[in-house]
């Protein structure tokens, strides 16, 4: 249903104002005092699903801050943005986290980066900014330069949550041992059982949004968007292009739509095969790790042939795609995908009865349907818990409206269910690739694009291998985004970890966290909690190096003694 028609069905009180940003997006201007009631209405009456919050500093043009709460109305294939203007003299906004737990991080991020504080937020600690970042400096405000380095506040310390009584603390990280990515999880344990946890991530805030808002042109930002994720980069570049196209009302050629679907499914197949390998590596099943990656390799070569790179395809452009499939493309694509399908089925057939695999995956890391909805998780994590959402069907983009595919849903909610969802999705993706090659019409692959008009809003979703990626974009006056907010799928999936690990064994934590297929970023600091005194000590890199050298020389000495 188009946004224009849908508006007539909405029954809100007179203080809110409804408008259409584009055919897929409804803007609702809500005064701050009505925000909670309106969000409840969207949640309960319109069956909205919270996606993200995007704060913007509009003091130079409108004299106020702006906070946008983005919801997906999945049943009606629409987005709804609750826009609240905030007076700079009193930058507070009522928190919606008490009844939408999935908004927890998004609201804290708005506070960290723009400086609009959610009142009555259940966890008001810092999220994105480092511990030594000075108070009262907000990097996404317009008057903060992109290359500014404020003096560090050396007193800043991370405030860890108090562990429950009678529990010990088991720190994992800041380098996650199996994923080789930076994240710091303090597990609170009683014996082998996990009774709670505290999470600290965002060790390397890369300032991607700031670069695109302050320096890069629309065209340059596409490549920056592609580098948000090393595995599903095309998702973000296409999502960014779609957001710009939505905002500017650009129609793109049909062949380009099909090509986008093609490249996105290409990426999904390789990403899921990568994950299957990694998941097996997490549980020590390295045979399957090797086999999954062996199956994946011809696909990487195919991608290199089709796009010019194994990863970061670099195909997205505003108005279409940059590269068509080569003339002899289909002749090379078919044998590779046929082979992958056959080999994957052989492997799946082999592992289904594997006792050790079943023991590690069945019944571990259970995320109930209720929690999955509450924390607004997306992608295979949601579908493994019986939440039937998929942006390809719910918010059709590219050519998905014309393609026939199944949304794979499992009810178990455990690691096994998430694994099965991904395996089934690889097979579905191969089906989609075949359909695209048959149905793709001839024609141009890129539309001519004029200047992008300022102050338009574009909201766009793309179903990444990890779940729905969402971009909110407000166009600016000088051919670059005024505000661009990226919600990567892991952002919400990671918030489901506490619910998922509650009551689990420690040994199942790595695979359970890994089963989200998460993406973290980089750090070089480490906190250790002394279990007797409960004191937190932070080691610097030099100290760690010394400790490492000392332990190695100790090892060598004891080996020499044995010899």
């Amino acid at each position: 249903m188009l946004a224009q028609q849908f508006i007539s069905k909405i029954n809100l009180n007179g203080k809110t104002r409804l408008s259409c940003a584009n055919p897929n997006t409804i803007m609702v201007d809500v005064p701050a005092e009505e925000l909670q009631a309106t969000a409840r209405y969207v949640l309960n009456e319109l069956h909205g699903r919270f996606i993200s919050s995007a704060g913007a500093d509009k003091r130079d043009i409108a004299g106020s801050f702006e906070v946008n709460q983005v919801f997906g109305l999945d049943q009606d294939k629409l987005f709804m943005v609750l826009r609240t203007e905030i007076e700079p003299t009193q930058p507070v906004i009522p928190s919606i986290t008490p009844f939408i737990p999935g908004a927890n991080w998004a609201e804290r991020e708005v506070r960290d980066l723009i400086g609009v504080t959610p009142t009555d937020h259940p966890d008001p600690r810092r999220l994105v900014l480092p511990d030594d970042w000075p108070e009262g400096v907000y990097p996404l405000r317009r008057d903060f330069r992109y290359n500014e380095h404020p003096a560090a506040n050396s007193d800043g310390r991370w405030k860890m949550r108090t562990p429950p009584p009678d529990s010990s603390v088991l720190p994992i990280g800041p380098f996650f041992p199996t994923l080789e990515e930076p994240v710091f999880i303090n597990l609170f344990v009683r014996g082998e059982k996990i009774v709670g946890l505290d999470y600290r991530g965002f060790f390397n805030h890369r300032g991607i949004e700031k670069m695109a808002d302050a320096e890069l042109t629309y065209q340059q930002a596409i490549y920056l968007a592609e580098r948000i994720c090393g595995i599903c980069g095309t998702v973000h570049s296409v999502c960014y292009c779609q957001a710009v196209e939505e905002a500017a009302g650009i129609q793109i050629p049909e062949r380009a739509l099909y090509l986008r679907s093609f490249y996105l499914e290409l990426e999904r197949v390789h990403s899921h095969l990568l994950w299957i390998g990694l998941a097996c590596h997490f549980i020590g099943f390295d045979t399957l790790f090797m086999q999954a990656w062996r199956i994946r390799e011809p696909f990487m070569w195919l991608s290199e042939y089709l796009t010019g790179a194994r990863k970061t395809y670099g195909i997205a452009a505003i108005g279409g795609v940059l590269r068509d499939i080569p003339q002899d493309g289909p002749e090379r694509i078919h044998p590779v995908i046929d082979r992958i399908e056959k080999e994957l089925l052989a492997v799946v057939d082999a592992i289904q009865g594997d006792g050790s695999l079943r023991q590690r995956l069945l019944g571990t890391g259970v995320l109930s349907n209720e929690y999955a909805r509450a924390y607004c998780v997306v992608g295979p994590t949601a579908r493994g818990s019986g939440v039937d959402i998929d942006a390809r069907r719910d918010h059709p983009y590219a050519a998905y409206a014309d393609l026939d595919f199944e949304v794979c849903v499992e009810q178990g909610g455990d690691n096994w269910a998430r694994t099965m969802v991904r395996i089934r999705e690889v097979l579905e993706s191969i089906k989609i690739i075949r359909q695209v090659l048959v149905k793709m019409p001839a024609g141009p692959i890129k539309a001519e694009v004029d200047e992008i008009p300022p102050w338009k809003v574009g909201v766009s979703s793309v179903e990444a291998p990890r779940g729905e990626a969402n971009h909110y974009l407000l166009t600016g006056p000088v051919q670059r985004a005024y505000r661009w907010r990226v919600r990567a799928p892991s952002y919400n999936n990671l918030q489901g970890i506490p619910a998922m690990l509650q009551g689990q064994n420690i040994a199942d934590a790595p695979i359970s966290v890994g089963s989200l297929d998460p993406c973290f970023s980089c750090t070089e600091r480490m906190g250790v909690i002394d279990q007797d005194s409960g004191e937190v000590r932070v080691y610097r890199q030099a100290e760690l190096t010394e400790m490492f050298i000392a332990s190695r020389s100790h090892e060598r000495r004891s080996q020499a003694k044995k010899g």
Binding site: Q220, R294, W301, A309, G314, D354
Partner: protein, 176 residues
């Protein structure tokens, strides 16, 4: 238990069928695919120094510096992301993405590119207009389009105005 054994046998079969797939790289070289986007190479003969590549480069590693009658186009390729934007936009087809991917080097200069092109100065005021190759390209284009008067190519915009050689309004609009 029985099911488990069958499963393990099947897994062994998968591994045996696959055999050894790793290559003895680098002893056994493995060339990239033909469309591969490797290290950008610039044809010095073709480059006209227009700077279109510098405008689109996302990591902004291409710099133009005008000094002493020469324009230097420099590529600091240590920051290259191999996106191919410079190739896509080059009007002279001077940039190509080569299949080179083994670019590790202890000498950073090895992977940098620098081109020096002579600048054209205004015959009246001496102001820099463009590179000589760009002017030549404009001249050629004008000749091909049937214009014979190309003697004013070496005049800067403000001198053209002073001499009453104002371009029609629509040209000013496009060249603004």
């Amino acid at each position: 238990m029985f099911k488990h054994t069958i499963s393990e046998l099947k897994e062994a079969l998968v591994c045996l069928q696959a055999g050894q797939v790793t290559l003895a790289y680098p002893l056994q070289p493995h060339p990239a695919e033909e469309n591969f986007r490797g290290k950008p190479v610039v044809d010095f003969e073709r480059c006209i120094g227009c700077g279109a590549c510098a405008k689109v480069c996302p990591p902004r590693l291409i710099q133009l510096t005008d000094a002493d009658g020469y324009r230097e186009v420099s590529y600091t390729l240590g920051r290259c992301t191999y996106c191919g934007s410079c190739r896509d936009v080059c009007p002279a087809q001077a940039v190509q993405m080569s299949p080179l991917f083994e670019t590790a080097t202890p000498q950073i200069e090895d992977i940098n590119i620098s081109i020096r092109l002579k600048l054209l100065t205004c015959r009246e005021c001496g102001e820099t207009i463009a590179t000589q190759r760009m002017a030549k390209r404009v001249e050629n284009a004008l000749h091909e389009a049937g214009y014979s008067h190309t003697e004013n190519v070496n005049l800067c915009l403000s001198c053209k105005r002073k001499l009453g050689l104002n371009s029609p309004a629509w040209i000013q609009e496009v060249t603004r």
